[in-house]
Symmetry: D2
Subunit: 135 residues, 4 copies
């Protein structure tokens, strides 16, 4: 599966609210994908940094995409739990952040993944782990 | 602090992306608030249910509001980590869901909270715990 | 199911390492149980407080017991994930702490729960959420 | 800092209950350590697998050791939260499991880490993320 196909699969199922993030698939590997999240003005809160809500929305989406890359197609699934740690603030003058989502294990009914969010200088800004259920 | 004041404090600091959720403060108690999240069409994904991204965005916002209610004013703070469990899907025909956020402990530099998301029939749809840092 | 029956069911399946904690079922309600963890000297680390390892071990065990109370019998299950927040240190001079574990939702294959740990003065010392899989 | 020094630092501060795990530091790198956990009979529960309580105890300990390796000495610290995902059961006939704990970020007052637990065949059995507070 290439980035363009994955991007199209995402566009088919994502909520409009999530599409507003303008997430861009930048690479696809088996069970792993890279995603770019532009730091748009509407995602920045009063403290001048990228809001955590946008980070978590991108993180969850990144895992869905990694699962599609893992499965070779979209299949119904649901997030069981998602834990995000916020390591560093992301200032508004950062153009975009890079997410990598990786399927750590795909079982019959459950899948586990981890997602990292990095600023362009390579520093880890957020780290997440998640459990998905295949329906 | 009443609901109207809290709603205004929120409008001052929230990112535009979060304001799109049309969250409505419905009650304020010491260190605890209630929030309504309308299940708008743009928050529903291809599976016909409220997307997890909107749920987490509302959950994080609910905790910020509970902290403002606890502190009596807005103070700079940041989410350290947020763990959300998704117990039940929320179908698109639910008009809105009710969140309650509660400060479990406010220390000097760290605060802990829990947030519940319920459908109108009172059933728990999501449950979250979080750590905040006061800056 | 009464406390004595639950205590016996626990003794049948728990690892010896867990039995060393001398956990005591103090109350059983539908889908909810209370458990006492004595603050024994061997559970206290160099900082003079109850070690987090013992707290997490008790928390996980409390959820297993709440699941048995919910199901009416022991059934094979496994912890999928467990998130614990540590709100306050528990000093060595506290005789014991009280845990309450509650099943938030029991689905066909997954169950969700929350567990609180309180010192005798009623203060919340730790709070956990967890996902279990029924095998 | 070498493995022997780290092992001794651990012996100075750990609770006796944790020492029973017979954890063995096998490698030390800057901000990162490897640890072996023998799958002793007393850690195996009625289902015939290594109990989650022992896994979480080892995981938390591994992070303390990684922090000592990062700081160059033991300093008072406390676990703020710890989230563990259990990906695969570890059968009783596995001799030992290998943990790697890594400090993802060390701030002034907070530190973040991740810990993996692998069986001898290299498969990931558990994955954890954690936040520590430096006191």
């Amino acid at each position: 599966m290439d980035a363009q196909t994955l991007q199209a699969a995402f566009a088919d199922v994502a909520a409009d609210y999530v599409k507003r993030l303008d997430l861009r698939v930048t690479a696809v590997r088996p069970g792993e994908i890279d995603l770019a999240l532009p730091v748009a003005a509407e995602l920045v809160h009063g403290g001048g940094v990228l809001c955590g809500q946008a980070i978590m929305a991108a993180v969850d989406t990144a895992m869905v995409l990694a699962m599609i890359a893992e499965l070779g197609e979209f299949r119904p699934m649901t997030t069981v739990q998602l834990q995000t740690s916020f390591l560093r603030p992301i200032p508004r003058d950062v153009a975009e952040v890079a997410l990598t989502a990786r399927v750590l294990r795909r079982g019959k009914s459950l899948a586990f993944g981890e997602i990292s969010v990095r600023t362009p200088d390579g520093k880890l800004a957020a780290q997440a782990t998640t459990t998905y259920a295949l329906l």
